[in-house]
Symmetry: C2
Subunit: 84 residues, 2 copies
């Protein structure tokens, strides 16, 4: 079994209203040192295979087709062997 840990984040050039809202809330709570907040997704996908090179290609496809909107988001992932 392989676990893919996928990060999907907005591209740097894309405005992040959710991150801005969180930043404002942190300021309101007194965290004045906060400069910038960006909010993205962290997706864990467990795949039933032991073939890392195939898993890498399939997970890349999943990101391209469904998990990320590549017009405004970028993604990265790492794979790790896990117990069943």
């Amino acid at each position: 079994m392989i676990l893919a840990k996928i990060h999907v984040t907005l591209k740097a050039s894309v405005l992040d209203p959710q991150g801005e809202a969180v930043g404002k809330s942190l300021h309101a709570l007194g965290y004045d040192e906060v400069q910038e907040v960006r909010v993205g997704k962290f997706i864990e996908v467990k795949v039933d295979t032991a073939d890392f090179s195939m898993a890498k290609e399939r997970v890349r496809e999943m990101c391209e087709k469904l998990l990320a909107n590549t017009v405004i988001e970028k993604y990265s992932f790492e794979l790790a062997e896990v117990a069943e």
Copy 2:
């Protein structure tokens, strides 16, 4: 400047309907090897300080007070020095 990379995920005992929906969509696309999907948040917070031990404590507080709902979510984070 320190960048905190924060992962907020549902506790293992908590149902994840969003993850289930993504899993079903992946199956519908033909990714039958997908066993389980969990969806969490990935939050990047840039803080204007060079003091790592203070940043660690302040970011922990931010997670407890605002970024995570500790009843159903757990969080972890790492800190890294970044250019201004």
